[in-house]
């Protein structure tokens, strides 16, 4: 009986300990690095190359939304070193004091970044993040389904002509890009009246919609169940376009928007030295090019472009939108206090 008792106590002790075993060594060179990144945005080949060169073992966890990532960091003791927030998430993480201010003296190769990401509005001077990959929010349409008609404007998403054949991204900030820009406002508006006008447009739009879907909207457009959809550029969109010549991705003439996912160091990261080493590694042009070659995404690294094996992708607007195309695109930044106008509006849209 005593043996059993000891075993029971042992099991409880193990249960209690595993919850806080993610921490690591403090001093000396790290042999491990814990990365929390978007699924598929940092290709496995990059991690393999890093481990091969430095001997540092990389543990990767994936998230599917900034919000999931933020709440995990906010819960504390995450044990992550590197996180990969999108632009507005950087602002939120800084606001909640969940990421470190980067020590620029430890970072090499930041001059390789494209000029449009060198000093972005969401993180002036790149104090907290180093851009890694970027993309756009625009329109995906099936020309067989639209009867050959070219789609160039957000207005198509609000046109009763396409009733039942239009899809919107099931994401508040993404939906308001279209809602605000179709009314002639900036996609990062913080003005109550402008946001309310967008809300009204989105409510009016709802009967026209086939639905809100940000999961498999690409398949819906490819199959013709939906003719036009709001869409995020990137790997999956590029793949669908490649497979089906009728599917096109365009940035709307109203501007569309840009997103960028970068690398930050989590507050109190257990392996800070390895984290800086990792960021420097990813800033190398030939490594940054792997985001495009192996991941199908646009790299924020201008010097990486010559290392891209398929040069055609550099002019494919679903991946690398040109400077002219993104000239009017807005960065979606954190709405801050105006968040409540968006939330109230989006709730009304969804409940209407």
């Amino acid at each position: 009986m005593k043996k059993l008792t000891t075993a029971a106590v042992g099991i409880v002790a193990v249960l209690a300990l595993t919850s806080c075993s993610t921490g690591g060594s403090g001093d000396g060179a790290s042999t491990e690095l814990n990365v929390y990144a978007w699924a598929d945005e940092i290709p496995q080949s990059v991690f393999d190359a890093f481990t091969e060169e430095t001997g540092i073992k990389v543990n990767v966890d994936n998230f599917d939304s900034n919000e999931t990532m933020i709440s995990k960091l906010a819960a504390g003791n995450s044990g992550y070193d590197i996180v990969e927030p999108s632009q507005y998430a950087v602002q939120q993480l800084v606001g909640q004091d969940l990421i470190e201010t980067l020590d620029k003296s430890k970072i090499e190769g930041i001059e390789n970044l494209a000029p449009k990401f060198a000093d972005p509005s969401y993180d002036p001077g790149l104090e907290h993040s180093v851009p890694w990959v970027w993309g756009t929010t625009g329109l995906l349409y099936n020309s067989a389904c639209t009867g050959g008609e070219e789609i160039t404007s957000w207005e198509s998403l609000f046109d009763p002509k396409w009733k039942g054949k239009v899809n919107m991204l099931d994401n508040m900030l993404a939906a308001y890009i279209a809602g605000l820009q179709v009314n002639g406002y900036d996609a990062d508006s913080t003005d109550e009246d402008e946001i309310n006008a967008a809300t009204e447009s989105l409510i009016e739009q709802k009967p026209i919609l086939s639905g809100y879907n940000s999961t498999n909207y690409g398949d819906l457009v490819a199959s013709g169940d939906v003719c036009i959809s709001e869409a995020w550029g990137g790997t999956s969109t590029a793949k669908i376009i490649e497979q089906n010549p009728d599917v096109h991705y365009v940035l709307p003439e109203e501007g569309g928007s840009l997103w960028v996912d970068g690398l930050s160091i989590a507050k109190g990261a257990p392996h800070q030295d390895a984290a800086y080493e990792f960021i420097n590694f990813l800033l190398r042009p030939e490594i940054a090019a792997m985001a495009t070659n192996d991941g199908g995404l646009a790299s924020a690294n201008a010097a990486a472009q010559e290392h891209v094996t398929d040069q055609g992708v550099l002019s494919n607007s679903a991946v690398y939108a040109t400077d002219e195309e993104v000239a009017n695109a807005d960065f979606i930044v954190d709405p801050g206090e105006a968040m409540k106008y968006y939330q109230d509006g989006w709730t009304r849209v969804k409940a209407s």
Binding site: L4, I70, S71, Q96, G211, Y212, N213, N216, D225
Partner: protein, 294 residues
């Protein structure tokens, strides 16, 4: 039902030994750590105040609950309740018929039929939902067959019909098993006796089988209704996401709206609804067993 109560009574008579109590420690610890503690945190958070960045500040307020009374939210709540009831009724009817069919097969075939009911569970829930998109969408088998007869452009994706079908498919097995379990224990001679005494097909079911299957049906109703309220993938993938359920509302509040306290409040309301439905079922069980005793 009676066998379990007897087991409990027997257990009470035996004095638990101290050693065996210690053996329960891991079980109790996991229930407390994984069940009660998180629930307590959610309950506490539902009275907290959200800050601008999605965090929680120490505060005590009933605002989160008050805001849920807004027609915008209560509409979602009633829609979910309605869909939950509809799905439960549909699952019970189909589950009852299926169970009756399985029970009426020879005993050596019943195991195989039940296996067929379980097999889909070996595949991931999301994958099975995506399969329904293919089945009901344009380019699927139904659209193909209709196309032969000259009906073009058939697609049930997205539609409310697809949502109801998807829900039925997902929860039917959980309805079949409890009904099957209580139906199997009915002595077949009761059915014969009822027929001999002049009951028709309908009479046999209404006066004999249905009342005796009662506890199983109530259990099945509970197992179907409660999870239906929390579903959030099916309405988005099959229904187009235009009519959110409470499950969708909670996800949105927690993530996009960065409003954990209100998400927690909505979760507590959902929990309360579930508790109420459990109590109602409990009362129903008591009544049906009291009837049997009389």
């Amino acid at each position: 039902m009676t066998s379990t109560t007897r087991a409990i009574q027997l257990g009470r008579k035996e004095r638990p030994k101290r050693g065996s109590l210690l053996l329960l420690v891991p079980g109790i610890a996991s229930v407390v750590l994984l069940g009660i503690l998180p629930l307590f945190i959610v309950a506490r958070n539902s009275f907290a105040v959200a800050d601008n960045y999605g965090g929680i500040t120490d505060g005590l307020t009933f605002d989160n609950y008050a805001k849920l009374l807004d027609p915008v939210y209560s509409k979602t709540l009633f829609y979910s309740l309605g869909l939950g009831v509809l799905n439960t009724v549909v699952c019970l009817v189909v589950g009852y018929i299926t169970s009756y069919y399985i029970v009426s097969r020879p005993p050596n075939r019943q195991g195989f039929l039940l296996l067929l009911v379980i097999i889909p569970f070996w595949t991931d829930f999301l994958v099975r939902t995506f399969a329904w998109i293919t089945i009901l969408g344009s380019g699927g088998p139904i659209a193909g067959v209709l196309g032969v007869f000259g009906v073009a452009g058939f697609s049930l994706i997205p539609s409310n019909v697809a949502v109801v079908l998807g829900l039925l498919y997902s929860f039917l097995p959980t309805a079949i098993f409890p009904i099957y379990a209580s139906m199997r224990s009915i002595d077949p001679s009761l059915k014969e006796a009822a027929t001999d005494l002049g009951c028709g097909w309908w009479g046999v079911h209404r006066r004999v089988i249905l009342p005796l299957t009662g506890p199983g049906i109530l259990g099945a109703a509970l197992l179907t209704f409660i999870p239906t309220m929390g579903v959030f993938v099916i309405p988005v993938l099959l229904g187009g996401g235009k009519d959110p359920l409470v499950g969708n509302l909670i996800v949105t509040l927690y993530t996009e709206f960065r409003n954990q306290p209100m998400g927690a409040a909505a979760s507590m309301v959902l929990l309360l609804l579930m508790l109420i439905s459990m109590v109602l079922v409990g009362l129903g069980l008591k009544r049906s067993s009291a009837k049997k005793g009389a």
